[in-house]
Structures are given as C-alpha cells and as structure tokens.
C-alpha cells in the first residue's frame, strides 16, 4: 500500500529534486517573510518560471510545494517581529508572538514557532500518507454526479468557514466560475464571452489570471499601504534563536491538538491556513487559558496557530491529490500548475501518476526537515529580509510579473489582460473579498460544468441523477450542514473568526 511512498522517495532523492526542494524551502521562507508576499504570490510568480525551465511535472510540483510549505514557516517572522502578518494564515501568530518579542523573547519565540511548525507539518504529512491512498480508493467510485456534489460541498464549506462574510465568499466563487466559462465551449465548440477577441478563444490563461489577481493587485495595495502608514513598526531585537526543551514540553498538548485541528481543516476542501490557525488558537485559548495569559505573550498561544497553519498546508494536499479538489487557495494554484502539464487531477491521479504523487509526498517529508534546519539557525538572516525597503521590493514584483507572463506568451495582449485582471483583483480586495474563492471558482469552474453536463447527458437531461447515489446524497447533505450549522451557532462563529486581512 505504501509502494507509492518508497517509489516517491526514489524520485525525491534525486539530486535535481533534492536541490529544488531546498530551493523551494529557501524561497518559500523568504516569500513568506516578506510582508505582503504570501505563498500564493510566491507561487504565482515562480510557476511560469518552473514551467518554462522545462522541469518535469514532479520536479516543478516539488519546487512549488516547497515554496508553499516554506512560506507557512516564513509568515511568522513579520508577525512576531513587526506585528505585521506576512499573510492571512499568520494573523493569529501576531497575538502572542509579538508580545513575546516585546518581552525580549523574540529569539525563543522564533525557535518555538519553528519547532511547532515542524511538528504540525510532520503530523499532517503522516496523515496525508495514511489517508490519501484510502480516499483515492473511495474516489475512484465517484461519477460525474458525485463530483458535482463534491464541488458544491467544497464551495459550501468554503463559504461557511472562510472570512466573516459568507455572501462575498460565494459571490467571489461565482465570479471565478464565470471567468472560467470564457472561451470555446468544449462540448459544442460555441464561443462564449469572447467578444470577437481571438486572444480569448482559449479562455483566460491561468498564469495571467493568477499573476494579475495577486501580484498586480498587491502592487497597488502596497502603494496604498506605504502612502497611509509611512513606516513599519520598529523591529524587535532577535537575540539568539533557541528554544528550550522545557518550553516545547510546556506547549506539547497545544501543539498536538492544533496539529490535528489544522490537518482536519486543511483536508476540508476550500479551507486553508487562515481558518485552521484561527480555530486552533481559539480552541487552545478555551481549553488551556486558565490565567488569562493568552494574548500577552503565552508560548502556547504562539505554538497553537503555528502548528495548525503548517498542518493545514500539508492537509490541503489530501483532497488535491485524491479528488482533484484543492483544499486551499494555494493548492488551487498548484492544481492549475498540474493542468499546465496536462495532468488531469482527480481520483485516477494516484494510480496513473505515482511518480508525481509519491514524489511530492516524499519531498514534503524531506522539505520539512530542511525547513527546520534552515529556520532554527538562520532565522536572524531571514529576518533581515524584512528590512528590504519597499521601493526595491515593489519593482521586483512588477518585473517578475511581467517576465512571468511574457515568457509564456510573448504577447502584449496577455500582459494587458494581466493588468486589467490586476485592477479587478484590487477592487475585489477593496470591497472586502478574499481572492481564494475566486481562484477556487476559476480552477473548479470548468470541471464543475463538465461534470454537470456529463451527468445530465448520462441521464438524458434528468436532474434526478444528481441526487441518485448514496454518495452524492451524502455530499449534498454535508454541504447543507456546513452552511446551516454555523448559522445557528452564529455567535460561536463570530468568536472563531476574527477579522483577518483579506488576501
């Protein structure tokens, strides 16, 4: 049953892939540490590079997954040192991380967060290794009707869990799906929403969409940020990055509980690190905050969200690799990257692409160890990155965005389209939307329509087929439950999900 893992280690241990895993870990930590450039931006910018460098699919995925997991490590730096979360998943880390730094414990705080990140990720990767093959076996039984139900469930759980505004989450998802309908309809060859522009016949390109939505809109947001607050807060001195065994043991239950919470939430389609760390923090606060020390620099309040966000990153690979449904906004982009390689994500992937799947899972183990080794001694060096001035950082983002799109298309239209999408993304973020649902809708939209139409053509147009098998009925019920239960427990939810910066 674990043949895929043995084979995977064979793939991941080749010099090229080891090097790429290391590069991914390094770049990911850097991207995560830079305020404003989270995992999604990092991957969006580097994805076209990986593709045009001619890396094979498994190597590209190893690099990108390394960036993803690495940036979950890096996100804590600016949270702890500057009280500025590097991305949405690191918001909870500021609550106890920054007070610790103000007490002069920045070094131990960085050390502890690296160790909890490592433990969280390790538990989740083991979970991934155990659960993914089982889920893949079940997933083979999925027909088009079940897949459609599953996607409904993914959107339902996302709207229920993510952000404080479920309506906007749903609107974002619908907009994403709508954008995915642009281009030639594969079923009939009819052109939809192309407005006689030949550039749109193939649909809106994934790379153009992602880079525009994230990188270009980020440039505008950073400009706004720089204009409103002239300076970032002062950086706390780090000192020596070390963590005592006693400190880790003090947090052991917080870390273990949060790892499990993070993994489970990561596995749920559509919800990622920001939800996981918020739920883990509030749970831990309820269970163990007897002396009201959470929020004032309690080690457990730092360890919990750090373990959870790394665990959820690994957990979100489960639905992506077994069902082809991304577990988070970032895995949605990884999924899109796979599609660039003409690999159809889905239940057959485990069987048909053992090299890719096994190699990826094995490289997660390897990358996680590398990240711990990188982050304990080098935290001080990475923290320097925080001091890169914005006026150098922003042009670099612009250059990477332009080169990324240009090298794929060598076409001005694609660059203009990227800029238009960037303005669109900026407006969405100003209106308080998260971009993750838009991406998820965009990636899943095509699959959703395809499965719906396939199901209905099997049944000759009878909608009843969508509710025929026990599996699809179960998925519809689950979708209804995730939406309805939080509505009744609305007050509870308000506690669970504090306002996070949309990303």
């Amino acid at each position: 049953m674990f043949d895929f893992l043995i084979q995977g280690f064979g793939v991941a241990l080749t010099p090229l892939n080891l090097g790429l895993a290391f590069l991914g870990a390094l770049l990911g930590t850097l991207f995560g540490a830079l305020p404003g450039i989270g995992p999604i931006n990092g991957i969006a910018i580097l994805m076209p590079l990986a593709y045009t460098l001619g890396l094979p699919a498994e190597s590209a995925l190893i690099l990108l997954a390394g960036i993803y997991t690495g940036s979950e490590y890096g996100g804590r730096m600016s949270s702890i040192l500057l009280n500025v979360p590097g991305d949405a998943g690191a918001v909870m880390t500021t609550l106890d991380g920054h007070p610790l730094a103000k007490k002069g414990l920045a070094g131990p705080a960085l050390g502890l967060s690296a160790v909890s990140s490592f433990i969280g990720a390790t538990i989740a990767i083991i979970g991934l290794t155990l659960f993914a093959p089982l889920l893949a076996i079940v997933a083979v039984k999925f027909g088009p009707a079940e897949f459609f139900g599953l996607m409904i469930f993914a959107f339902a759980s996302m709207s229920a869990m993510m952000g404080k505004d479920p309506i906007k989450t749903l609107i974002g998802a619908v907009l994403g799906v709508l954008i995915s309908t642009v281009g030639v309809d594969s079923g009939t060859g009819v052109l939809r929403f192309t407005f006689d522009m030949p550039e749109l016949y193939d649909g809106i390109d994934f790379v153009v969409m992602i880079i525009g939505l994230f990188a270009v809109s980020e440039i505008l947001l950073m400009l706004e940020h720089a204009f409103r607050h002239d300076q970032d807060g002062e950086m706390a001195p780090i000192g020596r990055v070390m963590v005592k065994m006693s400190e880790v043991l003090y947090c052991k239950w917080a870390i273990l509980r949060s790892s499990v919470i993070g993994f489970v939430i990561g596995v749920l389609p559509g919800t990622g690190a920001s939800v996981a760390s918020a739920v883990a923090y509030t749970t831990e606060k309820r269970i163990s905050d007897r002396d009201n020390t959470f929020g004032t620099g309690d080690m457990r309040g730092l360890a919990a969200p750090e373990a959870a966000n790394n665990a959820s990153a690994a957990g979100s690979f489960v639905p992506m690799l077994t069902l082809g449904i991304p577990g988070s906004g970032t895995t949605a982009i990884l999924l899109g990257a796979l599609m660039l390689y003409n690999i159809n994500p889905g239940p057959m992937m485990f069987r048909e692409q053992p090299v890719v799947v096994g190699g990826l899972i094995a490289s997660l183990y390897i990358g996680n160890v590398m990240l711990l080794l990188l982050n304990l001694p080098l935290a001080g060096v990475f923290a320097r990155v925080l001091q890169v001035p914005r006026w150098l950082l922003v042009p670099s983002v612009a250059i990477l965005a332009f080169v990324g799109v240009y090298q794929l298309h060598s076409d001005l239209m694609a660059i203009y389209l990227m800029l238009v999408i960037g303005v669109f993304g900026y407006l969405l973020r100003k209106f308080g939307f998260s971009l993750a649902p838009v991406v998820l809708g965009f990636v899943l939209g095509g699959l959703m329509e395809e499965n719906l139409r396939r199901a209905l053509s099997i049944s000759g147009g009878d909608v009843g087929i969508l509710f025929q098998s026990n599996l699809s009925i179960g998925l519809w019920i689950a979708a209804a439950l995730v939406v309805l239960v939080p509505m009744f427990a609305g007050k509870l939810k308000a506690k669970f999900l504090p306002a996070a910066r949309p990303s």
């Binding site: 006026w391 042009p395 209106f431």
Partner: protein, 152 residues
C-alpha cells in the same frame, strides 16, 4: 448620505448578471446530443449571482476606506506606468523599460531620487543577467538596438 460601497457593488453585480444572461441567451447552439448545451451553466450562474447581489444589497457590510485625492492619483499613475511598461516592453526592450519603470516605482514609494536611479538601474541589469544567463529566458532586447549593433 453616502451610498454604502456594497450597495454600489450589488448594483454592478446585478448589471453583470443581466449582461451574462443576455449574452448567454444569444448564443447560437448547433445541434448536439448534449442535453444541456453551453447556455445553461452561465444562465444558472447569472441567476445565482443576481440572488447573491440582492442579498448583498439588503445586508451591506462596512464600506472600508477608499482611495481619494493624492492617493487615487498615485494609484492611477502607477497603473499608467505599468500600462506603458507593457506597451514599450517589446519595442524598447527589457533593459530600458525595466530600468525606467523601476526608477519611477521606487520614487513613488518614497526613495530619494539618487537611490531610485541607482536601485532601478541595478534591478534592471541584475534581473536581466539573472533571467538571461541564470535561467535561460529570452527577453526582448528592443527593436532600436538591432540597427546599432549592425546585426544581420
């Protein structure tokens, strides 16, 4: 009394939903065995979007802070610079456009003029070397430079 931002958004979304519906309705579909066809899915989406937009109109959220005055001008200027970057990218070439754009953006982000110029030039040259020699990506050199080189 200012109209809440979400209400304006809701009206825009309703407009979009109507536009999508009309566009989808007008699609001419050749005969096929597909019982659904290309119209149904966009129509369902536009219906869903309309419902969500109405809900948003009834329960708008906080309006947030919108850029005005000098900030709005800077944002528009930045987009114009990026648009110009795109327009000149191929004809003027990567090096020249990137240096110019980097200098302007650095200056917009508050760098002193000398710093902006040095930083922008270094960024352009450094990234050119990295992409061309490090990663083997071919970047546009610019059509003006070829006659100067007397290339074939």
């Amino acid at each position: 009394m200012k109209l809440a931002a979400d209400r304006i958004l809701s009206l825009l979304l309703l407009g979009l939903a109507a536009f999508v519906a009309v566009q989808a309705w007008q699609l001419e579909v050749p005969f096929s065995y597909d019982p659904v066809g290309p119209k149904a899915f966009p129509l369902i989406l536009s219906g869903l979007l309309a419902v969500l937009a109405v809900v948003l109109f009834v329960r708008p959220g906080a309006s947030g802070e919108w850029p005005t005055g000098a900030l709005l001008l800077r944002l528009l200027f930045t987009m114009a610079v990026l648009g110009l970057y795109a327009a000149l990218f191929i004809n003027l070439g990567f090096l020249v456009t990137t240096a110019l754009v980097s200098i302007i953006i650095a200056w917009l982000f508050g760098a002193a003029p000398l710093k902006a110029v040095v930083g922008g030039l270094l960024l352009a040259v450094g990234s050119y070397l990295l992409f061309t020699y490090g990663l083997g990506i071919s970047l546009p050199t610019g059509s003006w430079i070829e006659p100067l080189l007397g290339s074939n």
